[in-house]
């Protein structure tokens, strides 16, 4: 038994839900049923999933089925199910030479011929539960199979989907009890009692029926068809036929939804009836044309009278053909309607995926969640109780559970931080220096081997899209760093320009291959001296190669935290032993790692910007207060013209430092001056060391200047110079 809207319905082996329900004497569906999956009339809600065609659904014991509501949309599922890997819809990618869609006579012939020619053939047939739902460029076919969803890649797609019967358009065509000819034959053969049958057009085979003579005018009845009314064209006399079932044989057209979806795609062709001509129906005069979107003939006339005479325009203005059946029902009639306007029979409009409705689970099959990268220290962080957070395409420790301890380890002792995520690119070659001079707005030539320089990266419009360091190794080799989130784009940017300029350089991205640990705090030198050679530690903005705890490292001295810092770049395969050695050797120094929550606070106290957080897509170096990082006295570089042009303009907006008492306002909080909008906060934090809130914010110019005092969320804030902490930089150079 199936449970159909609360009624137990028996079924036989091989029945569809449609067959079983109609055999039980129920008539829940309105409109002309095709029983072949073309029309939208037998939609049901199956186990909570709506838009399921009863004629395509095998009856199964215990299945809970409800018809779609007669009007409006089906309800959303009453319960939400938590997806699990077990409940995921199966998915497979298949490669072959030929996909044949439809296994009628034409499809079988094509498949046999292709197999005979040694081609690998995949066949799809909705009747057999292997249903193509979309055809895409490639060509590629997406299909629903008994095992789930499949993407099938091939050289050739053959659409052999046969024909679709023309449905009647006249008053009363949405009554129950109307069947197409093939539907009637199939249902009768399956034992469905049709009662008194009246046929319109070509009558059904093997079914007793009374042919209705004359042109179809309308169907009549109360919910269910009871009378068929025709008219004798010669005399104009109407004739009425009483019936229990009306069967219409109005001809057919190509079942071409998939072919229309693939319109113009190379490698896709139609054969057999799917490539045949339409039995053009008479021009519709009244009634529902498009049952999916509820479009009636008067709607077509209305848009026609307003000048919409193209098929595509009529589709868009009425929505005919945009619904569940993608025009399978309405297309012949709308084409006929347009043709009657004197422009000939227009070609069919394009269909959109999917040809039959699929569930969200089916749509999601084969798609994966974002693969955030993990550093070599991922397990070490977890072992220390870290809470991990997505950041710039990586999973990074947000905190190790005690932000206070993490913060003061940096400010007054020694701390370590996994900065492996930083972009790291090697550039070598005879043109390396000249190449970087063109890439960066800062002068590169004066940089000596062993020294590093902070640099902005500009696009052609002079806007900042990344920043980092340039470390010179020798005359012709450099290590460049970039932001974590921007590393992939940065490498691409470098390669693109190198090729475009024809420069002789070699480029190698080391981001995923090298680990990097930042050792920071006033006692960082003490810790490293226990693990390396103290007399070789580089000075501020210097770098050198040395072993730390037996691990070959490039030690770079710079600072993002505001304290003495050494970044240890090394082979990622050695990250764990280096991390553990630092923790073990620094145990008596109370060394403790810090996460990016505290790192945000530390860098903000120093006024360091985070590109993408504090910058906007149109941030020039000048607007960011970083004009000092641009050398206009050097040669050409990307963005130079734009920087030169904008440098003569009034500064309309500036990234400023603000401080206030009390808790920090949230990112995005609005700045107001005398009640008017004046900008917004980009980063904010409560500074433990300063005892007040500090923030960076975009401030609009006002009367040619920038306000010193603003209100943020009703509280006063003052504009101050950055850095907020250690403005002379004495600590980082100590």
């Amino acid at each position: 038994m199936i449970d159909f809207d609360g009624t137990p319905v028996p079924f036989k082996e091989g029945d569809t839900v449609l067959t079983a329900v109609l055999r039980a004497g129920l008539r829940p569906w309105r409109g002309c049923l095709c029983a072949e999956g073309d029309c939208p009339h037998c939609l049901v809600i199956l186990e909570g999933s709506s838009y399921v065609r009863a004629c395509r659904t095998p009856a199964s014991d215990g299945a809970r089925v409800e018809p779609h509501p007669a009007d409006g949309y089906p309800p959303l599922p009453a319960t939400t199910r938590t997806p699990t890997s077990e409940s995921a819809v199966g998915f497979e990618m298949i490669h072959c030479d030929t996909v044949v869609i439809g296994l009628g006579r034409s499809g079988k012939a094509v498949a046999a011929e292709a197999e005979g020619a040694g081609r690998r053939v995949v066949t799809l047939d909705a009747q057999a539960g292997r249903e193509a739902v979309g055809v895409y460029a490639g060509p590629e076919v997406v299909a629903r199979t008994p095992d789930g969803m499949a993407r099938i890649f091939c050289e050739e797609v053959v659409v052999a989907t046969g024909s679709v019967e023309v449905q009647p358009v006249c008053p009363g065509n949405q009554l129950a009890g109307i069947l197409t000819r093939r539907a009637a034959e199939g249902l009768a053969a399956a034992g469905v009692h049709l009662g008194r049958v009246v046929s319109v057009g070509a009558g059904p085979d093997a079914i007793d029926h009374e042919p209705a003579r004359g042109r179809l005018v309308r169907f009549e009845g109360e919910g269910t068809v009871q009378r068929v009314v025709t008219v004798d064209e010669a005399s104009g006399v109407e004739r009425t036929y009483r019936c229990d079932t009306a069967v219409v044989g109005l001809g057919s057209g190509p079942r071409d939804t998939l072919a229309r979806m693939a319109h113009g795609l190379p490698g896709v062709r139609s054969v057999g009836s799917a490539a045949g001509d339409l039995d053009r129906p008479p021009v519709p005069e009244a009634g529902v044309v498009c049952p999916c979107s509820g479009v009636v003939v008067d709607d077509l006339r209305s848009v026609w009278d307003r000048g919409f005479h193209e098929l595509e325009l009529i589709k868009r203005s009425t929505l005919a053909g945009t619904g569940t059946c993608q025009g399978a029902v309405c297309m012949p009639h709308v084409r006929s309607f347009v043709a009657a306007g004197g422009q000939g029979l227009p070609p069919s409009f394009t269909a959109r995926p999917v040809v039959t409705q699929i569930t969200m689970g089916e749509a999601a099959a084969g798609w994966y969640y974002q693969a955030d990268r993990r550093t070599a220290l991922h397990e070490e962080h977890l072992a220390l109780g870290a809470v991990m957070e997505r950041s710039g395409g990586w999973l990074r420790p947000w905190t190790y559970g005690d932000a206070d301890r993490e913060y003061w380890a940096v400010r007054s002792g020694v701390s370590i931080c996994d900065v492996s995520t930083l972009g790291k690119v090697l550039v070598s070659g005879p043109d390396a220096e000249g190449f970087l001079e063109r890439i960066y707005p800062a002068a590169i030539a004066p940089l000596r081997p062993g020294r590093a320089k902070y640099v902005l990266v500009l696009d052609e419009r002079g806007y900042v899209f990344d920043d980092g360091l340039v470390c010179r190794e020798d005359a012709n080799r450099f290590l460049l760093t970039s932001t974590s989130a921007g590393a992939g784009y940065f490498e691409m940017w470098l390669r693109d320009w190198a090729e475009g300029w024809g420069m002789d350089v070699r480029i190698l991205d080391r981001t995923a291959s090298w680990g990097a640990i930042n050792v920071t705090g006033p006692r960082s030198g003490d810790l490293l001296s226990r693990l390396g050679a103290p007399d070789r530690l580089p000075s501020f903005m210097g770098h050198t190669d040395m072993e730390v705890a037996g691990v070959a490292c490039r030690v770079m001295r710079m600072s993002f935290t505001g304290e003495i810092s050494y970044e240890l770049h090394h082979q990622a395969s050695r990250s764990r032993e280096l991390w553990r050695a630092l923790l073990e050797s620094g145990a008596d120094l109370d060394v403790w790692p810090h996460g990016i929550e505290v790192l945000e606070e530390l860098r903000l106290e120093k006024g360091h910007i985070l590109v993408g957080v504090d910058s906007l897509p149109d941030s020039t170096p000048r607007r960011l207060g970083h004009g000092w990082a641009v050398g206009m006295d050097k040669g050409a570089f990307v963005g130079r013209r734009a920087v030169a042009r904008t440098s003569g303009m009034d500064l309309d907006r500036l990234l400023v430092g603000l401080e206030m008492d009390g808790a920090p306002p949230p990112q995005g909080a609005i700045l107001r001056v005398e009640g008017a909008y004046a900008g917004f906060v980009t980063s904010s934090t409560w500074s433990r060391v300063l005892g007040r809130s500090v923030m960076l914010a975009w401030m609009n110019a006002r009367d040619g200047g920038f306000a010193d005092d603003v209100l943020i969320e009703g509280r006063p804030a003052r504009r101050v110079a950055v850095p907020f902490y250690d403005p002379e930089g004495l600590r980082v150079r100590a």
Binding site: H95, F153, W367, L426, S428, A432, R506, S513, R574
Partner: protein, 134 residues
């Protein structure tokens, strides 16, 4: 065993140099020269000594990949999560995505050695239903 349960970090040598210089690099005994790009070569296992006729060549130890060997019986399963078709003959080298993760694949002796960036290896293990390391 045909199905590995996890990827192991791979030690190799990475050389970025002029294409003609890379053409002349000799393969280590029992090893592989994997040409990732005309100017980019991965040498497995790592070379003790490298002779490259390009004074600007970047020669670096490479530990950014992890690898696992899949026997031929596993190939259909891998093909089922690949939008590109595997080479029909080996030895062959191909690069693309498996289950949405970028990989490099060395087809040989009927099976395949899959190289994945170590930073993404755990995702691929999960997506391929590998047992995973303990």
């Amino acid at each position: 065993m045909s199905a590995p349960d996890h990827f192991e970090r791979l030690e190799a040598t990475r050389i970025v140099a002029g294409p003609r210089a890379l053409d002349e690099v000799e393969s280590p005994a029992g090893g592989h020269l994997v040409r990732l790009a005309p100017d980019d070569l991965l040498v497995i296992p790592p070379l003790e000594r490298v002779d490259v006729a390009d004074r600007y060549a970047i020669i670096e130890p490479e530990s950014g990949f992890s690898a696992a060997w899949f026997a031929g019986s596993e190939l259909p399963r891998l093909q089922g999560v690949s939008a590109w078709e595997f080479p029909r003959h080996d030895p062959a080298f191909a690069q693309g995505h498996l289950a949405g993760i970028p990989v490099k694949m060395l087809f040989d002796r009927g099976g395949v050695r899959v190289l994945v960036p170590t930073v993404l290896a755990r995702h691929l293990e999960e997506r391929l239903g590998m047992g995973g390391r303990q």
